[in-house]
Symmetry: D3
Subunit: 262 residues, 6 copies
């Protein structure tokens, strides 16, 4: 776990893969845009894939995310482990937001949606530049289900895997800028970086592109802070109504004790 | 595992919960509509929830389904464990089809989509009657992502949990028929039963309703048989391209050995 | 009429043009993928165009199809003319399914929709490769009305007329493969053959393309069989309610006698 | 044939059923709103149904319409049979516009689309009140394919057949006003009369409803006149490119002679 | 103000910019396609931008349009200033139609929508060729809100400002024809001229393009005439209900006196 | 103008009507949820309507908003008039965001979109409860153009005018809660307050409703802060490219001097 030193609002950011290095990159990017009274807490799953690029990996990742968040959320509150006021899930195009909304009683923000929201605030239509082509339909699907797809011109893959992004940062930036340029030519006015692992590159790429580049992690911080300050949390009247006790073979740690229900 | 005695095409049906009784109900319903040369093989996950009604449960279920199918699919072929020619995933509104399409080299059919397809073949617009209201957005989301939502008039919940369906079968039928009647009045011409656990009730309910009632399990059998006979299987050019080796902490059994790649 | 020798389920396939040769091609393709207990019966209209490529021809064809199916459906059942358990209408992008659903009391399957369904089962998004460009909007329109258009990337014309397809089979395949390749490059993962006259080429083209190629005729067979085995037939509660007697000048053979109504 | 006495622009209106009385009603309604220099020519098909309420009837009607328009369009121009400058097809929700666009070299206007256009010009959202419930999906389908469905709140059926509309005009008006009132309460601001046989009732019903009521026949007249005055006619670059010669068994009169092609 | 000499229906056309020359171009184009008994009255705003190409200019223009139409509409009726039977607002992609519908008690027609309607009447799908790229989203937005966007293939900018159109007419035509040709290649069958200032060029460009070219001003005339002859005017049951008195600081001339309400 | 005493980020909120009292209500609501280092500056237009409920008023309001923001934005920076880091436009369903995005070089946030974004973060589908029914299509239109309409179940009017909201606060709350309850019953899980004048009531209404109630003003604050901290501002590559000099009769103060262009 990685914690910045400020107090006030505490945001938990859960990485979707098991790489602690990537968690640190994400925490750093988030800290850079947080309000002065916001603390960022990074959480890395202990089970799941080292990176998420397929549906099988997304499924395994989701269990890792659920377990890690559950463990942190039910841990005793101490000075070192303050209560989390809102969670950010740092997987671009991944499942998981809905399950966390059931699991915790504070707001949950998804970086895919946060990036789209920031993009739509600063331009007419946006594009997403991501890692492998195979993740394109997953991202498009998430944007559609989230109801923020109408102004998305395209989702394009660089062909680089998540773990390859860091290998040759210069080449990665070149590939991103090439696709971003194509997207602008096709009518986009803003570009979203479609991978949690791209966090922190947005400002520099914006300058080179000559158009806003949005990173979902930094976009999510302000939305999470805002929900906390508004006192809003997940509605319990429909989809996210309280769960009933249920036998969960192999995942007993996640079971709700009978006694917990009102 | 439950096996019927016929030969020719062998279909695997994976239940999404850990109830062997429900697997048997599903296998019986499937067997009743299979071609004479089709064998139905039922598979029950050993980990996961006893029923799937929330996003947390859907996530855990998905891992159970993936693991169970992987184990069966990589087991040695014997007389008692024949090769599976196509898989049916028997969770209405659940995730999982996409991951299985990556995992196995034979066709995979989802009962949510199969029911919609059968419904659209026998009427103009259709409705879905399901279990708890909270599952309605999950089902709607699956129909949208599957691209078969345009002719769906509504998805309605009976308020009964999956495990309550069997408790008072008469009352269950009454509740289903009430909602189905309302759906017809609102413009639906066909009704889908929105839960794998409702398998086997469709014909009787059709007679009482005076309009076609479709069950996804039975609808999926013919589609799976048809894909096998056409020699079609999942495209490997995009979303479902071959997975690369990857460290899967806690799920090492699902890792692809380096040597397996061409 | 062309009849295969098997028993069990009997499927009628009505060609939309007056070419008996094309009917035979279609029956052969269907027979190759039918269940062992399925018999395929081909029907060729006696009035209508020799091929369907325009709206005028589609309208005339429809009358030919309706008349031919009505005649076959009301003919006395004998050993040589067994009762038809379901009809397949073999015109890609053509009108006609809805009228047949009113006309007969067994399921009716359209090859345009069947191809889309099979395509969506084996990949994320699909494209259609068809004959003349002018038929593109007709096909797109049918896919939209059928509610299976959301995952269609594009419909492209080879520029070849229906009757030219057979003239130089090698060139036809080349043209189809060129367009199919462009479609894959633009995001499709599966390709549908957009003409009944292309029946039988799917498997070979799949191998050459390196991605699934779907033929609507073979896709329709399993769906039709499946509807029969599920005991489903067209809903009579709305669009396809029983027709009332009506004077049909020039088409008296299709009139419903007053005495036939309950 | 029915001809008004004016000169200038000549509009042909083809009824979709074989009732000459209904043709006269339509011609009268059209004449009442035509420009001073417009002549209205009514055409009644000699083959087809006495009214169009089913898909079978729509198919037969279409052939009657095509044949009648072709005959009139290829007839020698005389003082009594002046050249037609544009055609209106007077079937609400019926097929046929596209085929006529291929057949004739002057503009063709469909009353379903014309009514929607007029309705959208005088209010935010509109509803359609039609005859039998079974025609609702046909009408909705036409509005969707025509690209004018987005602002349609609902299509509702009175339960009256086309031929019943005239039987008790007072009761017909009551039923229409009841449904129209429901539509306003549900957010419509304008109501379209969804049947060519309702032509001529719009003004009176508007007064009683307190909101605009649109009749497709009268709406189509001005659009047809406008297209003529703008010198616009059907584009020949795609869907409606010139037809090639083709054998049309049973419809030889509609065949294009080889010599006609350039 | 510019008035043609005919009587019968009187249409007001309000230019959206302050250029009297452009008003005259518009009036001439309208007059050329008006019915023999229609008089065209051109109105030029006295406040607002000299051309409309940005959202700021569109906002200022709208106030100019509202004020000019209000002044003309409340002026005493004389021989020289006859009552206006319907208004046309001649800004392509601009706001304003809705406000005028509140302001006057006669029909109001927008040239953006009118062009789309004419285009859809003479081909399957259409494109728009306009001035600066920055206006593309404004035009697309108007087509979407108007509910006539489904059949629009693309909106493309020539890069020419409104006031540059006239500078080198030959070059303007070339640029329009280039983009129009690209649009046809991409599936459009008709092209709309996306600027009021392009009025009058449609016929000539049609000939050169070999496909219909539509100008919104001329398209609007027939629709406006048609609404007048049908006796239709804006519905007052919802969006366009009568306005109540309200203090309008700085725009007192537009205030409704208390006494005017019933 | 109303200013809170904090430093750090300075947000300008422009009211859309001329009521300074309402501006104060809005500033108070914004201040309550702002980060500790955020200063809120309220701006009231000097021209325009006292409340915005019609399209005419929206048009006049827009000019008032543009002028007021332009004046504040070009005023000399002093201790009392600090530079504004981002603008919020406080009109629910109103035009204006796009024009301000052209006008100023800092981010602009619209409360209609902000409310939708917050609502989608805490529930599956949302509804809007607003003032007069006539504003419903304006709000729906804004949500559609903003690309955040897909998850909106309904927009409902209380029948109360903007200026009536304060007259009997208890009755207003009752009316809002009634409609909000209906919306939940119809599938909404969150409710947005559809008027800037309702700012400040959200928390209390949430408690009474038992589901989240979102107010657009408070929702906009965090989004604006977040854009500032991310260093994002409006893209200048398309829609919002720099404006060129243009004669603006009657609005000379808004003209861009030639010398300002690079």
């Amino acid at each position: 776990m990685s914690t910045s030193s400020r107090t006030g609002i505490t945001l938990g950011i859960v990485n979707v893969n098991t790489s602690a290095t990537m968690t640190q990159t994400i925490v750093d990017a988030a800290t850079a845009v947080a309000a002065p009274d916001t603390t960022i807490v990074g959480v890395t799953p202990t089970v799941g894939p080292e990176s998420v690029e397929t549906h099988v990996e997304a499924a395994l990742s989701q269990v890792g995310v659920i377990t890690a968040v559950h463990r942190r959320h039910t841990a005793p509150i101490t000075l070192d482990t303050p209560a989390i006021d809102a969670w950010i899930i740092a997987g671009y195009g991944d499942e998981g937001r809905e399950a966390l909304q059931e699991l915790v009683d504070v707001p949950v923000v998804d970086i895919t949606e946060a990036a789209a929201i920031a993009a739509m605030a600063v331009g007419d239509r946006y594009a997403v530049v991501t890692t492998l082509d195979r993740t394109v339909p997953m991202i498009r699907g998430r944007l559609e289900l989230a109801g923020v797809h109408d102004r998305c011109v395209s989702v394009r893959g660089t062909g680089l895997g998540v773990l390859e992004l860091e290998e040759d940062a210069e080449r990665t930036d070149e590939l991103i800028l090439d696709l971003a340029g194509e997207a602008l030519a096709a009518g986009a006015e803003v570009v979203c970086l479609g991978c949690g692992g791209m966090a922190g590159r947005a400002r520099e790429l914006s300058v080179e592109l000559g158009a806003p580049v949005v990173d979902g992690v930094t976009a999510a911080v302000g939305i999470a802070e805002s929900l906390v300050r508004q006192g809003l949390t997940t509605s319990r009247v429909g989809t996210y109504a309280a769960r009933s006790p249920k036998r969960l073979s192999g995942f007993e740690e996640l079971e709700i004790p009978e006694t917990e229900l009102p």
